[in-house]
Amino acid sequence: MSEAAAALSPETVLAEMKRHGVTHVVYLPDSETNWLYLLMKADPAIHLVGVGREGNACSIAAGLWLGGAKPVVLIQNTGMLEAGDSIRGWLMSLNVPVVLMVGYRGWTRHGVTTDTVATYTERFLMAFGLNYYLVENDADSSRISVAFEEAERTQRPVVILVGDEYHGFNR
């Protein structure tokens, strides 16, 4: 499989968001989301809300959902760790059925990582009792739908770990 074919394309991610009625993307860019950002920015159906710290995304998402919108939170795993109390308080305790798309910095398929944020990412999610799905490429995109459906069914946040990010800079 070529590298391009193996990647998770931003078009796939955006299509999944739109298929599930996402209205707002609350985000702080991570290292390879620029192409997705440009796509979202050009799409009138998606309202972008940029934050300066990932925890801020949680209360904004809670407010959006309370008001009847459908937000997604798009952040990196580094920021997810920082946002722990906001995830607990604003998303989990208010039962906000939001999908968090989290760039899995440092993740490797062979399991040997030199980046400690990858070491703690899944441990963090397990400690919080948050269910998560790993998405590496377009062939995994059905898991994005699974996450959206599970969030609605359980009325809880669900996480998508983006294992290969979006390869925006590799085009």
Partner: protein, 195 residues
């Protein structure tokens, strides 16, 4: 300085059918509210997020005014939120800061540099088009009609007298009449949004 209850009483006259986020001042607001089903009284889920909650509501419901009571401790924890609010610039958001200068629920310890911060200047620097600062209730009451008549986002800093709860949390009087789940359910039902 003014008292929080007096400040809120003045604001209450302009509530109409607005969504109201009491922040961590719900114990004052509950006696003034004339529409609790539109009060997003969720207590303090995680410090620093009330402005975000208000912003999210304002973006989701541009057809309704959103009135938010924030605190200086929350703002200091999430200063960047002011930039996000200003960038989004929701015309329906009215952001009131209740600044007592202390962490009142933990015994009244001062917030960092409590006596020397100009929150209205910070908000203006972040891009809020209109900002105000008041220390006296008379001035606040006089300007409030004009503040509420113009579009948001607006930031209104009010310096209030600290009212410190120096009791262990478990011994404090519980003023809430609804659980957090009931608040969420009532609010979304009032707005007519799905489960």
């Amino acid at each position: 300085m003014m008292h929080t209850a007096d400040m809120m009483k003045a604001v209450a006259q302009f509530r109409g059918d607005a969504i109201l986020v009491p922040g961590r001042s719900g114990r004052y607001w509950i006696n003034l509210s004339d529409n609790q089903r539109l009060d997003v009284e969720v207590g303090d889920p995680a410090m620093g997020g009330h402005a975000g909650l208000g912003l999210g509501l304002a973006l989701a419901r541009p057809d309704k005014k959103v009135m938010l009571f924030d605190s200086e401790g929350d703002i200091l924890m999430s200063l960047g939120m002011l930039a996000t609010v200003a960038e989004q610039s929701p015309k329906n958001l009215y952001h009131f800061l209740i600044d007592n200068g202390v962490y009142a629920t933990t015994g009244g310890q001062p917030v960092p540099n409590a006596d020397n911060i100009a929150y209205d200047v910070i908000a203006r620097g972040c891009g809020y088009p209109r900002t105000f600062a008041f220390t006296e209730i008379g001035d606040f009451e006089r300007e409030l009609p004009g503040i509420m008549a113009a579009p948001g986002p607006v930031f209104v800093a009010c310096k209030v007298v600290p009212e410190i709860e120096n009791e262990p949390i478990s011994r404090r009087r519980r003023w809430q009449t609804r659980t957090r789940e009931e608040v969420v359910r009532d609010f979304r039902a009032e707005l007519g949004v799905a489960k």
